[in-house]
Symmetry: C2
Subunit: 528 residues, 2 copies
């Protein structure tokens, strides 16, 4: 048992691998994974790649992206040889009949693969992602042949297909802001990019029978997970990737995260336990319900005033999908609830949109999106959502959101821990991620990640807006996932009480705003 504890690299959850002196003979974990992306430009490959990298790193698998386009862009024109008269981003460079350019593009892809393999072989890396179009069988054969020579590595092709014109058009618009086009007129850039796209489309071969004949594992993601085809998926890691990608969606929504209001234990500095809210905590709880009600109405109004969104979900026809909309008129209820609170002292600093739509008007609209409220099962978190209307919000108290369990240190202050268990205290400071509190049931941050894992997948799956009310370590862990914060930094993240984070998933990553509650003015203020 000389090896350090691992989080999820081979079996779910944290574990210790028993090894021997003959380390070289010992059981390797199931090996490293090379994810090779496939797909036309502007089909959401980068979106998938970024999400996957963030997810896997958070789970404890060191994951890095190797982007071939970036490598191409760092090459000088000279490296294209004497006959190169065109810059290497011009559409002619992507002409499949341009043999010289094709050889160069293959070379760039293989150079990236070598760099990627070096990183896996000599570093701490678990998963490496080869981010390029890789849109022909000839190219994929090159990559496959090379990967098969690498011991203890498996290959997973991930293809992104999108036939939703609105999404593709939007992606193309984004592409025109790429460094390739920064010195070009917009109209010229568009013309050139569309020509590049046509060149790719001429030669494009989707994943299928060839890969199946070679028994290569692959996964096709069609319209952001609306349809998924998985072939020959082997290994824990590949299975997790496929399941994760199957659960993503592009719904416009907000995910709010807050610690519980101040508890009576916060006053004395004791950790753990199940104390109720302090008087101050109760004020926060009342203000939070009003604030979230207002924000919800504002956001839902912005959704319905926008032209029918192509990305409310992964539906290609833009109609709202899934389990939203129950119960009906949730928005009405929020409005009523706001009216009830209208004379209450707590008001947000933000103006409200016009809420005068009648109930009959609402009925002609699609039902208001559902809004879920998830808290831990501890009193201070349950109390923090006491003022939320259970008819307008789907409120669940979930065990997986309970605070990190401090084992024998429950109920102590940090100073008491330092005095009573100086060695434990020092160990924890040295490696907070893997340090596990002593005593039966004591947890580490790595344990907490595993405990939150199914909830994170559920959060990716659902299309609802959400408020999550939880605890210090749990908020750190959730925010680390949401905001792509390395897990080692996550354990020191400052997440103050009486502050609520608003995360909005966007095509290029999650946006975060932060609001702090001011007890004097009884208002939430945006903070940086």
């Amino acid at each position: 048992m000389s090896s350090p504890e691992s989080a999820g690299s081979g079996v779910p959850g944290t574990y210790v691998q028993r090894t021997t002196k003959h380390a070289s003979e010992a059981h390797e974990d199931e090996g490293k994974l090379i994810v090779v992306m496939v797909g036309l430009p502007a089909r959401g490959k980068s979106y998938i790649v970024k999400k996957l990298r963030r997810y896997l790193n958070w789970l404890g698998f060191a994951t890095k992206v190797f982007n071939v386009g970036n490598r191409r862009r760092t090459m000088t024109t000279e490296s294209f040889g004497h006959n190169a008269h065109e810059p290497n981003h011009n559409s002619k460079f992507f002409d499949p009949d341009n043999t010289q350019a094709r050889a160069l593009r293959d070379q760039l892809a293989m150079d990236s693969l070598e760099e990627l393999i070096r990183w896996l072989r000599f570093g701490q890396g678990h998963v490496a992602i080869h981010d390029a179009t890789n849109s022909t069988r000839a190219r994929r054969r090159l990559l496959l042949d090379r990967c098969q020579k690498e011991p203890n590595c498996s290959l997973l092709f991930v293809e992104s297909i999108c036939d939703d014109d609105r999404v593709v058009r939007h992606n193309i618009q984004m592409k025109l802001m790429s460094p390739d086009y920064q010195h070009m007129e917009p109209a010229d850039a568009r013309r050139d990019f569309l020509a590049r796209l046509q060149n790719y489309e001429r030669a494009y071969q989707t994943l299928g029978s060839w890969e199946e004949r070679h028994d290569v594992q692959y996964c096709k993601i069609i319209n952001v997970g609306k349809k998924v085809i998985a072939y020959n998926i082997q290994g824990y890691l590949a299975g997790q990737c496929v399941f994760y990608l199957m659960n993503m969606n592009l719904a416009r929504r907000q995910i709010w995260i807050s610690r519980h209001g101040e508890s009576t234990d916060n006053l004395t500095g004791c950790i753990g336990g199940d104390a109720p809210l302090s008087a101050k905590g109760q004020v926060y709880a009342a203000a939070l319900a009003t604030f979230i009600n207002e924000q919800r109405v504002r956001f839902e109004a912005s959704l319905s005033s926008a032209f029918p969104s192509p990305d409310r979900t992964h539906s290609p026809d833009g109609t709202p999908q899934g389990d939203s909309g129950s119960p009906k008129h949730a928005l009405d209820r929020v409005n009523e609830s706001l009216l009830r609170h209208a004379n209450s002292p707590s008001r947000s600093t933000l103006e409200l949109p016009n809420l005068s739509r009648s109930s009959s008007q609402l009925q002609r609209h699609p039902p208001a999106p559902k809004f879920v409220v998830w808290t831990s099962m501890l009193r201070r978190a349950i109390g923090t959502v006491d003022a939320f209307d259970p008819l307008a919000y789907d409120i669940k108290h979930i065990r997986a959101l309970n605070e990190i369990y401090a084992g024998s240190c429950e109920g102590m202050t940090y100073q008491e821990i330092q005095e009573t268990f100086p060695r434990e205290y020092a160990d924890r400071q040295a490696n907070k991620l893997y340090y596990r509190y002593p005593g039966m049931g004591g947890e580490s941050y790595a344990d907490v990640i595993q405990r939150l894992h199914p909830l994170i997948v559920e959060l990716e799956r659902t299309t609802h807006s959400a408020l999550i009310v939880t605890h210090n370590a749990m908020s750190r862990t959730l925010l680390s996932y949401m905001l792509d914060i390395p897990t080692q930094e996550m354990t020191r993240l400052e997440v103050p009480l009486h502050t609520v984070y608003c995360i909005e998933p966007k095509p290029f990553g999650n946006e975060c705003r932060k609001y702090a509650f001011d007890f004097e003015s009884n208002q939430f203020y945006p903070v940086d």
Copy 2:
């Protein structure tokens, strides 16, 4: 918070739903799921249906199968009307051009659907499975139209496709033992069943564009999960079903389950804690390694002597798949380890196969299958696998296998609990499944199921044999999944110390054998 605690019906893990007095207006959980099977006869539908039912029931979703063939068989010939001259299992009954029979078959399918809907509507049911071929679009339209009229129910089509001739032939062989053919000559039965199959094949329409146009969620399972196509999967439950089916395989293997050897706490009757093995427990540990070594060699020999198995995994070509075989010559190591133990007092009662193959002979064989040993992180479980060779076995100590955490009752005897917390003791006796031990971190059996959930999926995914050494409540929970024991009974299951269960997955369910260790003879004996 008047509703009882739930396990996993809507979000992962156990939670409490906050409701109000207006129960009818309250948020329903995401609703009920109707799984409609699709596929030709002898394509493994029943296998999938049984596994899915077992898995979902174990997770806490009450699941029932409604088999249309059984309904047909309970009909008398008279119910077929005056013109019926043929019994209703004759292949002519399945002729798509036989309009009258087709109407009758549709009627049977719809009657089953009505029965199923009644069960979902008026009972505690979460998931109902419509088990029939449902192989035409016309039939599926009937089913879809009816399901769409049912509020708060979603529909998931699950199609099983198998083009591996060996598997289909094997399935046909099984079909000939069905009640339909019990009074027929084998040759006639085969002829008739093949004619029935041809009738189905003539009219068969696979899931695809029609379902996509109607935006129905579906999942196609090709060759027992080798390839999976998932379309428009909505909802937590449907996602869990698809992920589970994606991870199954037909590899021949053995899964061994044992509690740890006797601990010093077992001597005093204290629950929980982290005590080491007693002297007796150490004897069990030594004997267990020898016994499993022998059983492993025996089983692996039976695998390699059998003709290349069509079902070693879900690979249609019968070649071994996946991450088996590392490190090489594991079988050699097991043999060496057996030789070292040859003079030890612990010998199994079972004879060993001839182990005289030389290392060079082994090298010409495919590498020996990997064998994983999973224990909890507690001393008594780790100690129980101390004699296993970490070069021949992949040994992991996994936190998710730790014993149910008894909170404030840790370290007490049951009698002490009864005296100290009489109310808790009574509550626990009244509902052991949902009773959660008091104090921070205390768990219920329902919590334990959630904790084991990812490990169960991993056990389904992997093709390796396994030994799991864990604890009383954990063994009950694992065996309940493996052997399809209702979760309410599971909490009272008798799992003695010093007894090892051997589970072998078979096409019609898991087989279980049980071996008890006898300290006097130092041997394991099969017990009933």
